[in-house]
């Protein structure tokens, strides 16, 4: 999806002013399988770019979710506690995971745009 930025660990970020909404991509949810549990951080914690802030569980595997940007968690998607499958069915909309108040918008430069991310996925998938 255009307008979003992407990390190479397959998370997306949608920026609105200083606010960043974060989730995992369609590619990620497809490769994970059905998500049965989402571990969310507490509101107020700090997150750092490329560091893990939570995890998802699918097919008996827990996979870390990393933040594409640094900042403070201002909101988490509580819906995911009762409906973790939203991550699969609506990875860019209802399956959003956290909202972060960024402390360094310059970090966005390290992320990929939609075209770069598409290419990245193609290269990764061709490895196997």
């Amino acid at each position: 999806i255009k307008d979003l930025k992407y990390a190479d660990s397959h998370e997306w970020v949608k920026v609105d002013g200083n606010s960043a909404t974060i989730g995992i991509t369609d590619h990620a949810q497809d490769h994970l399988g059905d998500v049965v549990y989402v571990e969310l951080p507490e509101v107020g914690v700090t997150v750092k770019q490329d560091a893990s802030f939570g995890a998802v569980e699918s097919v008996k595997a827990t996979s870390d979710v990393n933040s594409p940007v640094s900042g403070k968690v201002v909101e988490v998607n509580e819906e995911l506690s009762s409906s973790p499958a939203l991550v699969n069915s609506s990875p860019y909309e209802d399956g959003w995971i956290i909202k972060v108040e960024m402390d360094n918008a310059g970090e966005l430069k390290k992320l990929m745009d939609a075209d770069q991310y598409t290419k990245f996925c193609e290269e990764e998938d061709s490895k196997h």
């Binding site: 490769h31 399988g33 549990y37 893990s52 569980e57 008996k60 827990t62 990764e124 196997h128």
Partner: protein, 249 residues
């Protein structure tokens, strides 16, 4: 251009759960900074019950005190999956693999762990299959013979699979294994009746070794006699199968 890849196999014998966890954490860190290549830990645990990230301890049917009286330990972990039991003569594989390097997702990786156990079961003439949706693991009919619980950090795996060669199945009575009630747990011993040893079929063509040679070697090495030799042979087969699945030529 295909980059040569290798898998280092560490055969550890019986290892305490905490020690194995610490070792895995170190190996994951080392793998992350490319200090080591993909590594496979092959081991067994003393009697140990473990829970996953979701901490489903309602599936533990006895208290921790009673559990200790049985000579077992209880551990809470960050892996996926529900409650399970590990004990001697259950083969455990903990692959520390960079999934990112091979472009594999969690689902495909778990499927390969399942295939490994299905193939080894078939080498012993036991027909096993993956579970229904949401019941990851390996089943013979409605009896569970293999379990999976994985953790992925920085795209690197830890924890892995547990395959019942011949563990004491009574320990499973104290839990709702993997949170699935009304289903039994089984082992290669139970499914092959008489002799695990005799039951080994002709190896699959891509597993290039000689059965006689491996059996002979296993018997020579095993100090504890036949049961240990059976265990050793099964472990060797598991390594070869996982290796051939993860590193196709």
């Amino acid at each position: 251009m295909k980059v040569p890849r290798s898998l280092q196999i560490w055969r550890l014998g019986i290892v305490n759960y905490s020690d194995a966890l610490k070792l895995q954490e170190k190996l994951v860190s080392d793998r992350k900074i490319h200090k080591i290549s993909d590594t496979l830990l092959s081991l067994q645990h003393p009697p140990t019950y473990t829970l996953g990230k979701r901490r489903t301890d309602h599936n533990l049917l006895i208290s921790e005190a009673e559990l200790k009286k049985l000579g077992a330990e209880l551990h809470y972990t960050q892996r996926g999956g529900d409650i399970t039991f590990h004990g001697p003569h259950q083969a455990i594989l903990y692959p520390i693999i960079s999934l990112r390097d091979i472009g594999l997702g969690a689902r495909n990786y778990v499927e390969k762990l399942e295939s490994t156990m299905i193939e080894i079961a078939s080498l012993y003439g036991v027909k096993a299959c993956p579970g229904q949706k949401g019941e990851t693991g390996i089943w013979v009919g409605d009896r569970k013979i293999g379990a999976i619980g994985v953790r992925i950090q920085y795209g690197i795996t830890s924890h892995g699979l547990a395959f019942n060669i011949d563990p004491d199945l009574n320990y499973f009575k104290h839990i709702v294994p993997c949170g699935i009630a009304d289903k039994d747990v089984t082992s290669l011993r139970r499914e092959t009746g008489n002799g695990i040893y005799e039951a080994v079929e002709k190896p699959a063509p891509h597993v290039t070794y000689s059965k006689e040679h491996q059996c002979h070697q296993a018997l020579k090495r095993a100090n504890g006699g036949r049961a240990d030799a059976e265990m050793e042979l099964a472990e060797l087969l598991l390594h070869l199968l996982l290796y051939s699945l993860l590193l196709p030529f």
